[in-house]
């Protein structure tokens, strides 16, 4: 084993130490902001450096077998053996770099974004804790260890969404996120139980090795397992039907949305499917379900994104939609493709979120200076921001081109890779053509709503108030710096995995080979003629351009009114704005009935009424009633007592004789 791989525990421990230190500071001496920045960012940079070293060590190694580093025995009972162990292999390496890298950049950005917040140390403590759990998630060598990270990131997401906890909406959003995740985690748990029962182990290496013998292809068990895993993944990665928490999660600070709800945590579901690729490959039905869920989510979320006014909500639905692409990718067997889109998405979506954060930051500062209470996130209050924020404006356009799929940028290659495989699978079963079509339509919508976002925010006349405009300014360098780095990533990350028709194709695919090859024999090889591939790329380009052009032609930022004066929406626009009323439907069908039933039926009627009232206190009342009747005999007259006593004695005498 290369020495540097042995250092991997440092990547886990460093953020945790940061959490401890910052947590302590937040309780003891919350005003020590410089120390917090130093520790918070420092541990992340160090962790990133170690991660790079670890991956470098791994890349020199030609074996391809994963390294499992066991530290201690966690749960060992009977046949169950779960070790606290980390696993370093090609897949976790990619994730490790993305997680620590993007995290480090976002930590730097946060130093500027959060500098005036009274909860500064608490913020960095939570952020460090999040990185700790995220790293644990990607490095865990078994399902339970991964689950630790899995739940842990959910916890941090909960804490950070509700960061400004004094507002009930934020606290609600945090709770909603945690609960939705828990619903998914239920599936994860069930999957673990099934896997353990079938293979007798929960460690990745052992499970995947045993899988071909333990399961029959398309068998009942494997299908159940993969459905349960999908449920877990859908919860974490905000797929239908568990996606509604993610847009609400935008209640947290914007860098948090960038880090947790765009770049890293929400991709855990994709990672889970990619990690368990052999299981999904052995259950083709489940794979189709994964792909369908992904495609439907991609399309559905994109429609909602069309009509949102909150800049972060647009990005949130865009994230849901892009995650749908990743699910589509891993669902059609393009595991490397899914991971590739995960990587590029981490760059351009983090960039979009941070850029929007930068805009919000500027607007918020302006409103703060004039004591206005307007919504700093509503695009109707923006417009013309390019004048004030040239850097942000530039990098945001880069990211928009990337996500829309303009050729040459990273998003084009990753999205095209997924769609190409989906199209090629159509050869096996026509349903994949449908999925492909949905992906293409979603791509069209993506290009449209992203251009809409850019137009409304940066172009046209400024709809910010006169007084505020004087206070609008570009963000400080700690914030723009990370933006530029991410922009470079958004542009060039595409070279990681170029299409087969270009030179040096499929580097990432090749790198991930040791992990994905387990499932190769269960999938038909993807055959796509070069001409078809070119054609698909041309279609994708046309779609992207059409979407963007459509937006430019159809939307008139000049006619938009500020949020206060805007007319109410009607018809389909309102339905879209209200997100197809899914939240309301869930509330009416699930949340309210459950609470109502718990309160009125289970508690007040059944618990207090039937069990406690009728049965417990009922028996007590019966005893009292008997006593009451019996006490009539107790007249208090001695003569009566004596008479009864004597008669009793007579009867006893009779009895003994």
């Amino acid at each position: 084993m290369p020495t540097s791989v042995g250092w991997v525990w440092l990547v886990v421990v460093l953020p945790f130490l940061g959490f401890l230190a910052n947590g302590l500071i937040s309780l003891v001496k919350p005003q020590a902001k410089s120390a917090v920045s130093f520790i918070g960012v420092g541990v992340l940079v160090a962790a990133f450096a170690v991660a790079v070293a670890v991956v470098a060590g791994l890349s020199q190694d030609q074996q391809g077998a994963p390294y499992v580093l066991t530290y201690w025995s966690w749960m060992t009972v009977g046949g169950l053996e779960i070790a606290a162990a980390l696993q370093v292999d090609q897949l976790s390496a990619v994730m490790l770099i993305v997680v620590t890298g993007v995290s480090a950049l976002i930590h730097v950005f946060s130093v500027g974004y959060m500098r005036d917040d009274p909860g500064y140390p608490r913020y960095f403590a939570f952020l460090n804790l999040f990185v700790f759990f995220m790293v644990l998630l990607v490095l865990g060598a078994s399902f339970p260890v991964m689950f630790v990270g899995w739940e842990g990131v959910g916890l941090c997401s909960y804490l950070l969404i509700g960061f400004w906890y004094l507002d009930k909406v934020n606290a609600d959003a945090g709770k909603k996120a945690f609960l939705m995740n828990r619903i998914g985690d239920f599936g994860f748990l069930i999957a673990m139980f099934l896997i353990f029962q079938a293979t007798g182990s929960l460690a990745f290496t052992e499970v995947f090795e045993a899988a071909p013998e333990a399961f029959t292809i398309n068998g009942e068990i494997i299908t159940l397992i993969t459905w349960a895993l999908l449920r877990g993944g859908a919860g974490k990665s905000a797929q239908i039907p568990l996606y509604t928490w993610l847009p609400d999660a935008m209640a947290g600070p914007t860098p948090v949305s960038a880090l947790i709800h765009a770049a890293t945590m929400v991709t855990a579901g994709v990672y889970l499917v990619a990690r368990s690729n052999i299981l999904f490959a052995m259950a083709p039905v489940s794979s189709v379900v994964v792909a369908t869920v992904g495609a439907v989510t991609a399309l559905f979320a994109a429609t909602i994104a069309l009509k949102q006014w909150d800049i972060k909500k647009v990005l949130a639905y865009s994230t849901v939609s892009q995650l749908g692409y990743m699910f589509l990718g891993v669902g059609v067997g393009a595991y490397a493709g899914g991971i590739f889109h995960l990587v590029t998405h981490a760059f351009f979506k983090a960039l979009l979120f941070l850029g929007s954060g930068s805009v919000i930051f500027a607007l918020h500062r302006a409103y703060h200076a004039t004591h206005s209470h307007d919504d700093a996130q509503d695009m109707r209050n923006m417009g013309g921001m390019r004048k004030f924020m040239p850097w942000t404006f530039a990098v945001m356009w880069v990211a928009t081109f990337a996500i829309a799929g303009i050729p040459g940028l990273s998003g084009f290659f990753s999205k095209d890779g997924i769609l190409a495989v989906a199209f090629a699978r159509g050869h096996d079963h026509p349903v994949f053509y449908l999925l492909w079509l949905m992906g293409v339509i979603a791509a069209l919508l993506t290009a449209f709503y992203m251009t809409r976002l850019m137009l409304y925010t940066f172009h046209g006349p400024s709809r910010t108030g006169e007084g505020e405009q004087r206070h609008l300014a570009e963000a400080p360098w700690v914030m723009t710096g990370p933006l530029v780095v991410l922009a470079l990533g958004s542009i060039f990350a595409g070279v990681l995995n170029l299409p087969h028709v270009l030179p040096n194709p499929g580097w990432l695919e090749h790198w991930l080979e040791p992990v994905t090859e387990l499932s190769h024999r269960y999938w038909n090889e993807v055959h796509l003629a070069a001409s078809t591939e070119w054609l698909l790329m041309a279609v994708a380009t046309a779609i992207a351009v059409a979407g963007m052009a459509g937006a430019v032609i159809m939307l008139k930022p000049e006619k938009l009114k500020a949020a206060k004066e805007a007319p109410a929406e009607t018809g389909i626009q309102k339905v879209l704005l209200k997100k197809w009323y899914v939240d309301e439907i869930y509330d009416a069908l699930i949340v309210r009935p459950t609470v109502w039933m718990s309160r009125n039926v289970l508690w007040k009627f059944f618990d207090a009424g039937v069990i406690d009232g009728a049965m417990v206190n009922g028996s007590a009342w019966t005893a009292r009633a008997v006593g009451f009747v019996g006490s009539a005999v107790q007249t208090g007259r001695l003569a009566w007592y004596l008479l009864v006593f004597v008669i009793g004695t007579l009867v006893l005498l009779r009895a003994v004789m």
Partner: protein, 518 residues
């Protein structure tokens, strides 16, 4: 260290000392002025704890035999002996008890303001009772101590409790008493039946266990009596209504002890007596259906009802119903993992729920109410308390890395084999647990700080930190490295499972005949 312990004959007197020290302490507490009572009580419980700690190391891992065992005649004419000994399961329960007691004393420090001497004396008597239940190896002694522990608890609730304390105390007492009287009848029945069959009339655990075959067809009734007594104590689903009342009215320390230790006696009783004595009855398909069904109903039902409680203590009380459902499921699944998990939950529920009750007590000390709606936004005012409350709540939710997860995970993964459907339903408990605790958490420490009374509450005092710190340490320790605990109970659980399986095979009628019964 071991040498020193050997020189002073630690293993020979430790259990006796654990039972005697609190009693002596109780007398001492009664004889000092009221102002000194808590200090003396704290000293006694600390000594008790320190005496018990070396058990952890002198306990021999890897054997299921009862250790530190010895007996003195009590009423030898009737075969009644003072007979004590512990195995891995008792060991954890004993240590949990001795750890909880000093904290309970510290937690009552300012909360109890009148009749101090009797209060602390009762706490100490309670300690002896509880430890006695866990170490007794004589069924008569077990029964006596089981009742002994009831009396101090009755007074603790009835004298120092809340407004409805008498109702709660009497309900608690009578409810528990009904069950334990049935158990007494069952114990006597076993005593006579085994005595008649073997000619040796003795209440000794081993003797009765070896010859339990003598009860023949009475097994079902006797098992039923034991099971009812323990099920009430646990409490299992339909027998749980004494618990919320008792918890709500009891003073903080009593709530902690009630949740932390007393409830465990029910499950301990199942592990120690009901299952090994009556394996074929306990594992009869009908019984299994009932017990597992009730356990699962308890999990979901407890969680749903907890969700809508306006009173924080009541919420925690119902959450206990839910958690103890996991324990019952684990015990009945009878696999290594599930039984070990059940025991871990017993310990970790004691720690987490104990801490939750401490926190509830601290909140109500500050605000003189337990209504969740009376709080809000406390994280801003009392950040330390908020952090601790969050961590403890998360451990109760079963977040991986905390003690709650280890137990629940082991129970669920162990129970999946025998009862997949029940386990699947039980696993939904993790969702509901998150729902009720997070909702409560939000309404207490998050949301708007809109009540002026809440704006100037003091944060945790040093004493309160001292109470909570050991519990937090245990939460993380058991969550991250439960191996030492698992090691100590492994042999015992394995022994239990094999005993039950073997007995079941030997006692049960010839295979096949059971299936013929419609």
């Amino acid at each position: 260290m071991t040498e020193f312990l050997g020189n002073i004959g630690y293993n020979n007197w430790v259990l006796d000392a654990l039972l005697v020290i609190p009693l002596v302490g109780a007398l001492a507490v009664l004889s000092v002025p009221a102002g000194e009572a808590k200090k003396v009580a704290l000293g006694v419980t600390l000594v008790e704890f320190l005496v018990s700690v070396p058990l952890w190391w002198t306990f021999q891992i890897g054997t299921a035999a009862m250790q530190f065992q010895h007996a003195y005649p009590w009423i030898p004419g009737w075969g009644i002996y003072y007979r004590v000994g512990i195995d891995g399961i008792s060991l954890l329960m004993v240590l949990l008890t001795t750890l909880t007691m000093p904290l309970a004393v510290l937690g009552s420090w300012n909360y109890i303001k009148d009749k101090l001497c009797p209060y602390y004396a009762l706490l100490l008597v309670l300690t002896t009772g509880m430890l006695g239940v866990f170490v007794a190896l004589d069924l008569f002694m077990f029964y006596v101590l089981w009742e002994v522990m009831l009396i101090p608890m009755y007074f603790l609730i009835g004298v120092w409790g809340g407004p409805r304390r008498l109702y709660a105390a009497i309900k608690f007492f009578i409810y528990t008493f009904v069950g334990s009287l049935l158990m007494l009848v069952a114990i006597l029945a076993i005593y006579y039946m085994v005595g008649d069959a073997t000619g040796v009339y003795s209440f000794a655990y081993d003797h009765l266990l070896e010859n339990i075959g003598a009860v023949g067809s009475w097994g079902f009734w006797l098992f039923g009596a034991f099971a009812l007594a323990f099920a009430i104590k646990v409490p299992m689903f339909p027998f749980h209504t004494w618990l919320p009342d008792a918890h709500v009215e009891a003073p903080t320390a009593a709530s902690v002890i009630l949740a932390g230790i007393l409830l465990k006696m029910g499950t301990y009783g199942f592990l120690r007596f009901a299952l090994p004595f009556f394996p074929s009855e306990a594992m009869h398909p009908t019984v299994v259906t009932i017990v597992v069904g009730l356990a699962v109903i308890g999990i979901v039902y407890g969680a749903l009802v907890a969700m809508v409680q306006p009173d924080f203590k009541k919420l925690v009380a119902y959450s206990s119903v839910s958690h103890l459902g996991f324990v019952m499921l684990g015990i009945w699944a009878l696999t290594q993992a599930s039984v070990a998990g059940a025991i871990i939950i017993m310990v970790s529920h004691g720690i987490s729920t104990g801490a939750l009750f401490f926190l509830a007590g601290m909140l109500s000390e500050r605000r003189h109410t337990r209504e969740i709606a009376a709080f809000g936004g406390l994280a801003k005012v009392v950040p330390g308390l908020a952090v601790v409350l969050t961590v403890v709540a998360l451990s109760s939710i079963g977040l991986p890395g905390t003690n709650g997860f280890v137990g629940e995970f082991l129970v669920l993964i162990g129970s999946w084999g025998p009862y997949p459907w029940a386990t699947a339903v039980a696993a939904t408990g993790v969702i509901f647990a998150a729902a009720y605790l997070l909702w409560a958490l939000q309404r207490i420490i998050y949301n708007k700080l809109d009540k002026p009374e809440n704006e100037h509450l003091p944060d945790l005092s040093k004493r309160e930190i001292l109470v909570l710190a050991p519990l937090l340490a245990c939460i993380l320790w058991i969550g991250l490295y439960p191996k030492p605990l698992l090691d100590r109970i492994e042999a015992s659980t394995e022994h239990l499972i094999t005993t039950v399986q073997e007995q079941r095979a030997s006692v049960a009628p010839t295979p096949g005949s059971e299936e013929q019964v419609p």
